[in-house]
Amino acid sequence: MPPRLEMRDSPDVPHGVTALGVVAPPPLQISCPAFEGSLAMLFACVREHRVDLMEVALSPVCEAYLAYLVSLPETDLDEAAAALAALAYLLERKAWLLIPVPEPEPEPYEEPDLPHPGLDSDYHLAIDALQTWHAERADWFFRDGEAAVTAYELPYRLEHVSAADLAREFQRVLQRAKPQETPILSRPRRSIADELRRVADRLSPEPAPLWQVLGYAETKSDCVYGFLAVLELVRLGQARVHVAEDAVSVSAVLAPRAAVLAGGHA
């Protein structure tokens, strides 16, 4: 089995294209007192100032890289190039570190020291404290969000409103509520058949209250005619009356419409 495949089994660095779409360098493993891990990890750690590059000898890494290039006939060029770029970066950084410079090297981003991998006990203490606070906080209750705000959309200024405004408003509401009725000059003649038809139209198989069945009635005589029509429909077996404790309701008996009307005329 070629050494390269063994190296790819390393869990630290996936082979090939990473999730970020960047080609990862081959998983060359480096092991020294200051650092243990892959070339990619070393690159990342140096970049983020988590490893002192002065403590890591780079010449064995370069040798390993050359061995990797030589030993693998089917070397992936992208992969090899990525490793070369990482190695070049490390060598340049180390060169900068070795040459005393009057000005500090400019850093694009200041990264704080990260603790050692794995959660240390300090975090556990902090988590415990936060958990306690969270539990204590659950003992407090606040005014509920949305409902409260709508309840306060009320600053209606009354200083400029008079009783006359109130009257005008009332009149306006009433006008909107019911348009002016046209006066009835003479009482029209009525046909009981029309009345039956009107009532039958409003009946459904579901029992409905009497007032709903007579809903169109606007005058006392409307009510009387409507009621007579209901009685007639009941007599003809086309409607049924249900008497409950506090209400009377009427339902239709399903039958051909023609029979009703014929009955009415009869």
Binding site: L154, P155, Y156, V161, R172
Partner: protein, 183 residues
């Protein structure tokens, strides 16, 4: 052990819609009588000092800020003014002229919901509950308050400006009105 008054106040504080004395008594494991008593004391206590007041609304109780803080509250919340004024005015006018009246009747006249209006007007102490109508469902009746008379500079409801009499008789009690239409 906190007093029933304080415990009741805590519940009212967290409720943003009216709660009944029954709900309070269940939560606090007190009798309804004890809760009613606590509510009465709380109402007096709040009325005497502080910016809050206890309202009796739709058969339940609710806390709100007193009317004199409305400008402060408005300055903080910056609510929409113009949109609401008209609908509040309508509900108030209907209640003033047709009291005592149920919400269903107000809605019939207006052709629109009036829950918000009732609440907002009660918060301003312009209307209050006036008992229940002895019909099925025992709906709550609303009427105007002394504060309403004071705000509109009236001595009694008789001072309300007259409205065209023909329009005056309308839906409320359908039978009565329909009868009058026949004459």
């Amino acid at each position: 052990m906190p007093s029933p008054i304080d415990r009741t106040l805590a519940l009212l504080f967290v409720s943003t819609s009216p709660i009944t004395s029954l709900e309070i008594s269940r939560a606090l494991q007190l009798t309804e009588g004890q809760v009613e008593q606590a509510l009465e004391l709380l109402e007096t206590q709040l009325a005497e000092s502080g910016p809050l007041q206890l309202l009796r609304l739709a058969g339940g109780y609710q806390l709100s800020t007193k009317a004199e803080y409305v400008n402060d509250v408005a300055a903080l919340l910056q609510p929409e003014r113009s949109k609401l004024s008209r609908s509040l005015m309508e509900v108030l006018a209907i209640i003033a002229y047709r009291q005592p009246i149920t919400t269903a009747e107000i809605e019939e006249i207006r052709g629109a919901s009036c829950d918000y209006g009732i609440r907002a007007l009660a918060e301003r102490r312009l209307i209050e509950e006036k008992g229940r109508r002895p019909t099925p469902g025992r709906p709550m009746l609303y009427g105007t308050t002394d504060e309403f008379l004071h705000q509109f500079k009236m001595d009694s409801l008789a001072d309300l400006p007259a409205v065209a009499p023909a329009l005056f008789a309308l839906p409320v009690a359908a039978a009565a009105v329909r009868e009058s239409a026949e004459h």
